[in-house]
């Protein structure tokens, strides 16, 4: 029993799943589900389809080179069964998996690191430009507490004294 990788999306194909297509030149194409199979029949290029692993690695969304990748390989020479070896391998698989997941997590967080500051900047600009949607400008002019701290209008005393003679 072998766990194969889907030709299109590179996910694991477990026994009892998917379709294998054998072409006239004896090349075998394995697909994990009909979605990948149909995309193949449409002659779509996996490197251009956004949700495949091929696209993600090519465009730096997922980690590309790592030493943990060396452990999982397609081994075409059968190993003689050795109980100790099998036990150690099973333990190692668990450990390596944990390490690989941690590294991928780190890669992802590094990729997303500038996001919070960018979001805050964009929000500040939007607030400044669109404050009229929150409160009417006339209300903002009267009640100074509602405006942003930047816009501070000081009411100067001499002006009011001047106005009084005018009103009379």
């Amino acid at each position: 029993m072998r766990l194969e990788k889907c030709w299109f999306c590179s996910s694991t194909v477990y026994p009892g799943h998917g379709i294998q297509f054998v072409r006239n030149d004896a090349k075998v194409f394995r697909f994990c589900r009909s979605k990948c199979h149909k995309n193949f029949k449409m002659k779509r290029n996996p490197r251009k389809v956004k949700w495949t692993k091929a696209y993600r690695r090519l465009n730096g969304k997922d980690m590309t080179q790592d030493s943990t990748f060396e452990f999982e390989r397609k081994r075409n020479r059968p190993e003689r069964y050795d109980r100790n070896l099998a036990e150690n391998t099973l333990k190692a698989i668990k450990k390596i998996d944990k390490i690989r997941v941690a590294r991928e997590e780190r890669h992802h967080s590094q990729r997303m690191s500038g996001k919070r500051s960018k979001e805050m900047k964009e929000a500040a600009v939007e607030l400044e430009q669109g404050i009229h949607m929150v409160k009417a400008p006339s209300v903002l002019a009267e009640d100074q507490s509602l405006t942003l701290p930047k816009i501070q209008v000081r009411v100067s005393q001499p002006q009011t004294e001047k106005n009084q003679p005018m009103e009379e």
């Binding site: 990788k5 030149d25 996996p46 692993k53 690695r57 390989r73 075409n76």
Partner: protein, 118 residues
């Protein structure tokens, strides 16, 4: 005894099968790419085939299509679709199972020590 339908009906009922077969017989991208990568066999001459248009002599390698004569084929070379194919073939090697395995996070396949020295 059942009725034998007329020619049009039979053609309509059978056409999806011929279309499916035609789709299967067309070469995939990586097969066409491999054709370009082998200079040593030096491109065997096209065999005479009665069924194909133009006896199978006028062939576009990039699009895997046969044409009736040289002028038709040359007209095809000017089309947008053909030029796009040419550009694609100039690019990198198409996606293979090995690429899919590497993308999944596996290493290079391990074929063990060489058994026979050639």
């Amino acid at each position: 005894m059942g009725k034998c339908p007329n020619r049009k009906v039979r053609k309509r009922r059978y056409s999806h099968k011929t279309a499916r077969l035609a789709k299967l017989l067309r070469k995939g991208d990586d097969a066409v790419y491999d054709e370009f990568q082998k200079p040593e066999s030096e491109k065997n001459p096209l065999p005479f085939d009665e069924d194909l248009p133009g006896m199978g002599q006028f062939y576009c390698l990039h699009c895997d299509r046969y044409f009736a004569n040289v002028s038709v084929r040359d007209e095809h070379f000017k089309t947008k679709r053909h030029r796009k194919r040419v550009k694609e073939m100039m690019g990198s090697k198409p996606h293979t199972q090995l690429d899919a395995d590497l993308a999944a996070g596996m290493g290079m396949p391990d074929n063990g020590p060489k058994l026979m020295s050639m």
